[in-house]
């Protein structure tokens, strides 16, 4: 189980990093999303993995609970990452509509704008 989660984190991180290093806005946004998944799972997994032990208190019997703290952290992280994605998308869209170009690197000389970097 641990290996599965760890490798999933690795795959998501690697894919995220690769896409962030692309040169147009949309892949970068996708990369950020993948990286967000990776980071969230990473954070979540710092509470160690447990199956069938949700941190909902049960007053009838003594049972084990998983660590609630990383869950609370990740919950806010998920919502914030939505806000971040939305802002980044908006900036990318505004930049594209203003210059009709969605490369993320600014051209060295504005006059070469037609060529690809």
């Amino acid at each position: 189980m641990e290996l599965l989660v760890a490798s999933a984190v690795g795959v998501l991180t690697a894919a995220g990093i690769y896409l962030i290093l692309r040169r147009q806005t949309f892949p970068v946004i996708l990369g950020l999303s993948l990286l967000t998944y990776g980071v969230n799972i990473f954070l979540f997994a710092t509470g160690r993995l447990a199956v069938n032990a949700p941190p909902i208190l049960n007053k009838y019997e003594e049972i084990a609970y998983t660590d609630p703290l990383p869950q609370a952290l990740v919950l806010t992280a998920i919502v914030i990452s939505f806000g971040m994605t939305a802002v980044v998308v908006m900036i990318a869209l505004a930049a594209y509509l203003s210059s009709r170009d969605d490369r993320i690197d600014m051209p060295d000389h504005p006059e070469d704008e037609g060529e690809n970097a």
């Binding site: 189980m1 641990e2 290996l3 599965l4 989660v5 760890a6 490798s7 999933a8 984190v9 690795g10 795959v11 998501l12 991180t13 894919a15 995220g16 690769y18 290093l21 040169r23 806005t25 949309f26 999303s33 993948l34 998944y37 969230n40 799972i41 710092t46 160690r48 447990a50 069938n52 949700p54 941190p55 909902i56 208190l57 007053k59 609970y65 609630p68 869950q71 609370a72 990740v74 919950l75 806010t76 919502v79 990452s81 939505f82 806000g83 971040m84 939305a86 802002v87 998308v89 908006m90 900036i91 990318a92 869209l93 505004a94 594209y96 509509l97 993320i104 690197d105 600014m106 060295d108």
Partner: protein, 954 residues
């Protein structure tokens, strides 16, 4: 009146002139005048205490952890300066009312003036050097606004910038010096620092602290070699020059030197740095002033010279010299402010202040002539005016001063300076007012109304009275102020009187006056020689320096920040990997303490889905729509994974965020190219791939190692589990952490979310205001459009589902405290329910039915959360302490109430508002004219009109 109030009044009052200007210029000026008058009266109420030698105090711990306390104190020195600042401020406010023309924005002027006044009063009343620094910087900023008040004049803007650059950088040096000083003493309170002379002077850090603090004082008080900014600041309106550059701002440096005199003065370092600088400045300013044709430039350099004089006296380090310095501060403020105002009157009435174009004004402007005559003679050091008294005290002191073994150097140079000083004072009278009447004045000069001459007239009355009755009028003031400067009441014997007998100072005075008259006689040839002589132009040097600095800054910025974001990301990734490797090298890895758990078939399948989908996203990222679908798969697997691994709250959140994000990305993609055609060269892709693989492996290994080991230290989670029900009244520990234990974090988070949504809204507004709008309106869809934009089935289904979805949201919300759910998830579900209406029935239709703006929803959410938190204060509990209890309302079952639920309501509203505002903003890009329709559906069985074309594609 409390010192807090005196210091705060100008700041509070600064609002009124700007507001009252709508009621007319008199109202604006009266508001400024009344504020100043109130503060002045409050100050005067302290006269009995101050003249008894008491120190009035007001203390308030502001940031005790930093040593920054809002402590004020009022002693003789502070009283003297505060009187000058507020008293001359009153006269200036009166004068400016009549000086400024109809076109000048007077409300702004008085607001800036009061801000400046408040900052100055703050400096002289501060008992904490950090607080003093705050006010010090405020004077730099507010004087920038005042000097650059005439924004249309390039000289005004340049002068303001130069003043800010010079005094601002001096202020930075002073911050460092003050911090060192505070460090030596161990306290930032002036009253403590002033008691520790020996400690400070014995410290090895004394010299650095002294130099840094003096840099601040010298730049502010325009001492050589920083004197050049003051003449350029003369581009300001004359009331500003009269206020800032005669009585207040330039005296701030002197004030600080006087304030710290008890602990810094008396060492050879102090003497050689301060006295020498003062002497050079005094001489240089006096010489240059004689050759300036602009009246205000003449006065500016004369001010530089007099500031040098006072600096030199403070630098001597003897108590009697300090007395002379204090006395000259009073005298200089009176005659120089009067002269500045008179120069302004001449400029105002004759429309020029070029001495070469003036002359013979005495019959045309008799009142102004009288004022200038008295003030100038005082400046020249002619008895019986006050300038004579302090100048003679200065000359007397120079005679007793030994510089580098020479008895003659200081008095000799001081005599030359006094000579030039007399000469330029005479020049102001002779070349402007005496001589024949001319026929070519730019305007017909005449005396102004009393509003303009009353102020200077009052000041020259003081000049005469202090001159005649110095011991009675100025004596007590000088005594308490000088007592405060020297840090004790044991002042040496001195007497303020006109006749001291035949002293060397008297001979020097006579020599200076005669020599000055001679110099004026020879002015024409001297001026020609001066013009011909080469001399460094300070402004050119300053401009070159600034240009060089700008170039350097540009070079660094452009080198590091060249707009290639890919490169930034690459460097950042490389750095993260590097530093992680470094950290890994420095640590040890203990043996695993936890068992690996077994995997069932379903998690394995999910894992395959995730890995394949992620791989496909990377492989197919050029086809944007496809990659969006694939990333949705990743999100779903992640949600399921959370659910499986005992995190139902996370699963719910992830799932609903997933839906919203997808809609958002699809909306954006609508306007963007559907492909990413740009391909990096193969080696770049290989390089990025390598970085990515290394990063992924690192993350993977780290979390794997972490999961197989137990906590190194006890976790605080145990506390949360144990107290969730007892303290927070909820069994869903995650929710209780969010709304109770870590409620403050959540509070911050909903604010951030709201800000993000507002940023999106603002960006949309900004972008739609440009030519982008035209492009969007003319844009042809680049993909085939649905024949029926709003299918009946979907419209009906979403309408039916709306109440259901909202009920689910309510259910999720209310059970959140005890079972998976809560404000975040409920907010997302409610947002999706509303979103469905937009998607099914169209943006126009939905927004026409929108009753409340989303901004308001975000705001009310944040406010409700804040109000809940504040509620705890009424029960004497810290912010966001929650409470709960149980209610029994038959026939309902017993149920729980908790203030945390109210907080959660705030979270709910903020999330709903933020999500909808973000998506609605994006959707507005799609708006096209002609979309508005009263019918939501294109085809409606209840209607018998023909279906109409509708291109709403939201």
């Amino acid at each position: 009146m409390s010192l807090f109030l005196i210091a705060a009044l100008p700041f509070l009052g600064a609002v009124f002139p700007a507001l009252l200007i709508r009621a007319g210029r008199n109202a604006s000026a009266s508001a400024a005048g009344l504020t100043t008058f109130l503060a002045f009266t409050g100050l005067m109420l302290h006269i009995p205490a101050v003249f008894n030698g008491e120190v009035v105090q007001a203390r308030f711990d502001w940031l005790p952890g930093l040593g920054l306390n809002a402590n004020f104190f009022l002693d003789g020195l502070g009283f003297l300066f505060a009187t000058l600042i507020l008293g001359i401020g009153l006269l200036i406010i009166l004068y400016a009312r009549f000086y400024l023309s109809r076109e000048d924005p007077m409300g702004q002027f008085y607001t800036y003036l009061l801000l400046f006044q408040g900052a100055m009063v703050g400096i002289v009343l501060s008992d904490n050097i950090l607080l003093l620094l705050v006010f010090w910087e405020l004077t730099s900023l507010s004087s920038f606004l005042l000097i650059g008040y005439w924004k249309h004049l390039p000289e005004g803007r340049q002068g303001a910038r130069m003043a800010l650059a010079v005094t601002g950088s001096g202020g930075l040096a002073m911050i460092a010096g003050m911090l060192i000083l505070g460090h030596i003493v161990g306290s930032y309170d002036l009253s403590v620092i002033l008691q520790n002379k020996d400690l400070i002077q014995a410290s090895p850090l004394y010299l650095p602290a002294l130099i840094l603090i003096l840099l601040g004082c010298f730049t502010k008080s325009a001492q050589f070699p920083f004197h050049f900014w003051l003449p350029h600041a003369m581009a300001a309106p004359t009331p500003v020059s009269a206020y800032l550059h005669s009585a207040t701002m330039v005296k701030a440096g002197l004030f600080l030197m006087a304030r710290l005199w008890p602990v810094l003065a008396g060492t050879p370092e102090w003497f050689y740095i301060v006295a020498t600088t003062g002497l050079i400045t005094m001489l240089l300013g006096a010489v240059i002033a004689l050759f300036k044709d602009d009246l205000k430039a003449l006065l500016a350099f004369s001010t530089v010279s007099h500031l040098g004089l006072i600096t030199m006296l403070l630098g001597f380090g003897t108590k009697i010299a300090a007395v002379a310095a204090v006395f000259h501060i009073i005298n200089h403020a009176t005659f120089k402010a009067a002269l500045f105002m008179s120069a302004g009157i001449v400029d105002h009435e004759a429309h020029t202040r070029d001495i070469k174009r003036l002359g013979g004004l005495r019959h045309l402007m008799p009142v102004t002539f009288t004022i200038v005559l008295v003030a100038s003679l005082s400046m020249a050091g002619i008895p019986p005016f006050n300038g004579f008294l302090s100048k003679e005290m200065m000359l007397e002191e120079t005679v007793h001063t030994l510089w580098g073994g020479s008895h003659y150097l200081v008095p000799g140079l001081a005599l030359i300076a006094a000579l030039f000083s007399a000469a330029y004072s005479f020049r102001f009278i002779v070349h402007v007012f005496l001589g024949p009447k001319r026929s070519d004045y730019p305007a017909q000069p005449h005396d102004p109304g009393p509003g303009m001459w009353l102020g200077p007239a009052f000041l020259i009355t003081l000049v005469i009275l202090i001159g005649l009755f110095s011991a009675k009028l100025a004596g007590p003031m000088v005594a308490v102020a000088a007592g405060a400067v020297t840090g004790g009441n044991d002042l040496p014997y001195y007497s303020l009187k006109l006749w001291h007998g035949l002293t060397p100072a008297l001979y020097m005075s006579i020599a200076a006056v005669l020599g000055g008259a001679l110099l004026l006689k020879l002015h024409r040839p001297l001026q020609a020689a001066w013009e011909a002589a080469p001399r460094p132009e300070a402004k050119a040097i300053f401009d070159r320096l600034m240009h060089g600095l700008t170039k350097l800054a540009q070079l660094i910025t452009d080198g590091l920040h060249n707009g290639a974001i890919t490169r930034y990301a690459f460097v950042m990734m490389l750095f993260i990997i590097g530093i992680s490797y470094y950290a890994y090298q420095g640590g040890t890895l203990a043996a695993a303490t936890r068992e690996v758990q077994n995997v069932g078939p379903i998690p394995l399948i999910a894992w395959f889905c995730l890995v394949i989908a992620t791989g496909a996203v990377v492989a197919k990222h050029r086809q944007r729509q496809l990659s969006l679908v694939l990333i949705g798969v990743v999100g779903l697997v992640v949600s399921m994974g959370f659910n499986y691994l005992s995190a139902p709250d996370l699963a719910l959140t992830q799932l609903s965020v997933e839906v919203v994000t997808m809609v958002l990305l699809l909306l954006a993609l609508n306007f963007m190219p559907k492909e990413s055609p740009i391909k990096a060269p193969n080696w770049v892709r290989a390089r990025d791939g390598a970085i990515a693989v290394i990063g992924g492996l690192g993350a993977s290994a780290l979390i794997y190692a972490l999961m197989l080991r137990d906590f190194a230290m006890p976790s605080i989670s145990e506390y949360h589990l144990a107290n969730s029900y007892k303290g927070g009244g909820g069994t869903n520990v995650v929710n209780v952490i969010l709304v109770d234990f870590r409620g403050y974090d959540t509070f911050g988070e909903i604010i951030v979310l709201g800000i993000a949504a507002l940023v999106i809204f603002a960006l949309t507004e900004a972008v739609l205001g440009t030519r982008v709008r035209a492009y969007l309106l003319n844009r042809k869809p680049d993909m085939p459009q649905a024949g029926d934009a709003h299918p009946m089935m979907m419209v009906v289904a979403t309408r039916v589902m709306m109440p259901l979805a909202l009920m689910v949201a309510a259910y999720i919300f209310f059970r959140g405290h005890n079972l998976p759910g809560g404000g975040f998830i409920a907010g997302l579900i409610a947002a999706i329910a509303l979103l469905m209406q937009y998607m099914a029935s169209g943006f126009t239709w939905a927004s026409e039915r929108q009753r409340v703006f989303y901004h308001g929803i975000i705001g009310s959410g944040v406010l409700i959360a804040a109000a809940t938190g504040l509620g705890a204060w009424f029960n004497d509990m810290p912010f966001l302490t929650s409470d709960y209890g149980y209610l029994y309302w038959p026939p309902l079952e017993k149920f729980e109430w908790a203030t945390a639920a109210l907080f959660d309501l705030g979270v709910f509203l903020a999330v709903v508002g933020a999500v909808l505002l973000a998506l609605e903003s994006l959707a507005r890009f799609a708006w096209q004219p002609g979309m508005s329709t009263e019918h939501a559906m294109d085809i409606n069985p209840a209607r018998d009109d023909a279906p109409q074309q509708n291109s709403d594609e939201v």
